[in-house]
């Protein structure tokens, strides 16, 4: 169920799903002139194609022109500026380019210590997420190798630790809710709760203040705990039913035995 006030992440999700649906429906998934031409080129002009193909963008049918502009449907004029072609974005334009879709993240990033150094040595989106081979965001992106490109790993480690447990809880709860759902249990409110908690958690990733990450993570974990308790309650009810059921079955088998014995006495 979609809440009445639609938050940015949901809007993005909806757009993604819609474009996915449209692409699948029209069936032109990976065919466009960018891929056709560049795929055949050697060296640096052809290199992005296989990288993109392995990316989460390709998986969700986000194509070259969505970052680089241009007209993928018109081979001859694909890269004309009057068709909106932008080429390689300047370093300072990178967050804006990604932020066209990732609206909420852009805001978080620009407000963070990272974002405030944009253009003066600070990282851009691609510094951590890579460009063409962009992967699904996960905690793995926070690692010593990446972070120490610019500064020490100490604070990043603390943040990662604070978030790791939450990430695990979300994954576990997600699986548990899914399994309840496949048993026909009413899971809408729990799903909604988890969805909200996950969104709240995701905004933490671009906010690079260790203390805030720690305190927010704690609050989110509390919410997740509530959801976990609801699932526990359902599972406990199920256990209780099993016990009552076992008693009922025992009673019936006893009755069967008694009927049988009584029957024997009559037969003789």
């Amino acid at each position: 169920m979609i809440p009445v006030r639609i938050s940015a992440p949901i809007r993005i999700l909806a757009t993604l799903l819609f474009s996915l649906a449209v692409s699948v429906a029209t069936g032109h998934a990976q065919e466009n002139s960018c891929v056709t031409c560049h795929g055949a080129m050697p060296g640096k002009y052809g290199a992005p194609v296989p990288l993109w193909k392995s990316s989460i963008h390709a998986e969700n049918n986000v194509f070259c022109h969505e970052c680089h502009g241009g007209d993928p449907k018109d081979l001859g004029n694909a890269m004309k500026p009057d068709r909106g072609f932008k080429g390689v974005p300047k370093e300072t334009a990178i967050p804006e380019t990604c932020g066209r879709c990732h609206v909420g993240v852009l805001k978080d990033f620009l407000g963070s210590a990272h974002g405030k150094r944009l253009g003066s040595g600070g990282p851009t989106c691609v510094t951590c997420h890579g460009n063409h081979a962009v992967k699904k965001a996960s905690l793995e992106i926070i690692n010593e190798k990446t972070c120490t490109k610019c500064h020490t790993y100490e604070r990043a480690r603390l943040m990662k630790q604070a978030m790791q447990e939450t990430e695990g809880m979300i994954t576990t709860l997600d699986a548990r809710i899914e399994s309840l759902k496949l048993q026909g249990k009413a899971s809408e409110t729990m799903e909604q709760g988890l969805f909200n908690a996950r969104n709240r958690f995701h905004t933490l990733f671009h906010n690079v203040i260790a203390e805030k990450v720690r305190s927010e993570s704690a609050a989110i974990k509390k919410d997740l705990g509530t959801i976990g308790a609801q699932i526990d309650a359902i599972e406990q009810a199920e256990q209780k039913r099993k016990m009552v059921g076992a008693a009922a079955i025992g009673g019936l088998l006893l009755a069967a035995l008694l009927f049988r014995l009584l029957g024997k006495t009559y037969d003789n």
Binding site: K181, G245, A256, G263
Partner: protein
């Protein structure tokens, strides 16, 4: 003279109830050699009653409308007190009832009880099996889940293979070109009213045939080679010197019913999703065909037959021929002997047939 006795006497003067009790209960004699397979009929009566009662309770909260059906089932399963129990009893009960019908049929088959003079019992019983499968099929659609929707689409599709009238028939059954809201209305009416009435009527006929002919005695190795009844006159199998239906065999029946009920609750409490697939818990979506839609287990053989033949019409013909053969078995297999071990050809055919049915079902399940 106690009050109960007084009441009994009062009713006796007016209705002659003792005569009825004598005839239907204590004086209704069954062969001494009767075995527990004979109690499956009572088990089925009980199972049917249970379906009727749980079905009526479900009627209170179920809404037979494409917009509301899935949600109403979800409300029954999650919010209505004991709704889950009633719904699971109904859904699991339908499966166990079909299974018990198969067992009842097999016991009649191997004891040769379908033979003269009990052809009508066999025909009415086999028709009942098919009607119960029909009521299961129509009930399958009602939750309006992905499984319901697509299983019904597949099932009604095969009707279209019938020559000439097929297409018209599919449209009549569905109430439109495709499975949709009108199909739900039709299946609902058939499931909750038409088929229960027809089944109840046919159960009445089945029991009437049974009572008029008298029950068969289990065959033994020492049975005479010819039946005692070759003539052209009616004769009721009295089984003089047998055991009375009440209380003796009634207690056998109660034993079997208790065991049946224990099995039912066993599934309901310990493996409630045995007969559900994940698609049962996703609302019907006419625009998204799920990957592996399979019919219920008792239709898997039919489903596989339709799949292995190159054209649907051939598959349907084969099925129709098979069904007709089974229905008319008593008129094909007219020999006198009933003891199975003395009838090798019959044994080979029956066991072969059952093995083929099971093999086709497994094949259908795995394919």
């Amino acid at each position: 003279m106690t009050l109960v006795r007084k009441l009994y006497d009062w009713v006796e003067v007016r209705l002659g109830i003792s005569e009825v009790i004598e005839k239907e209960m204590t004086g209704y004699l069954l062969p001494r050699t009767i075995n527990n397979w004979y109690s499956l009929g009572s088990v089925l009566l009980f199972a049917f009653t249970l379906q009727v009662i749980s079905g009526i309770l479900l009627l209170i909260y179920y809404v037979p409308d494409a917009d509301k059906a899935f949600k109403s089932v979800s409300v029954i399963m999650n919010e209505i007190p004991f709704g889950w129990l009633i719904r699971l009893c109904h859904a699991v009960g339908s499966n166990l009832m079909v299974a018990t019908l198969f067992l009842h049929m097999f016991s009649v088959l191997f004891m040769g009880s379908y033979k003269k003079p009990r052809e009508l019992q066999w025909v009415s019983g086999f028709t009942l099996l098919n009607l119960v499968m029909g009521i299961s099929l129509t009930g399958y659609l009602l939750p309006w889940s992905q499984l319901s929707f697509w299983a019904t689409t597949v099932a009604t599709n095969s009707v279209g293979a019938i020559p000439v009238i097929g297409e018209y028939l599919v449209e009549f059954v569905r109430g439109g070109k495709l499975v949709g809201p009108p199909t739900l209305g039709r299946f609902f009416a058939v499931h909750v009213a038409v088929l229960p009435l027809v089944i109840a009527g046919l159960i009445g006929a089945h029991l009437f045939f049974l009572k008029r002919t008298g029950i068969s005695a289990p065959p033994t190795r020492n049975d005479p080679a010819t039946t005692t009844r070759q003539g052209s006159s009616y004769h009721y199998d009295k089984h003089e010197g047998g055991i009375p239906f009440f209380p003796n065999f009634f207690l056998h029946d109660m034993t079997s019913v208790s065991i049946y009920m224990a099995c039912l609750l066993g599934v309901v409490f310990f493996s409630p999703y045995l007969f559900f697939t994940p698609d049962s818990f996703v609302p019907a979506n006419p625009f998204q065909t799920p990957a592996h839609i399979k019919p219920e287990w008792y239709f898997l053989a039919n489903y596989q037959i339709l799949k292995i033949f190159p054209s649907e019409i051939i598959g349907l013909t084969v099925q129709g021929a098979g069904m007709t053969f089974i229905a008319l078995l008593p008129f094909v297999d007219r020999g006198d002997g009933r003891y199975p071990l003395k009838r090798p050809l019959f044994m080979v055919c029956s066991l072969g047939g059952i093995a083929m049915f099971i093999a086709l079902s497994i094949w259908g399940h795995l394919s």
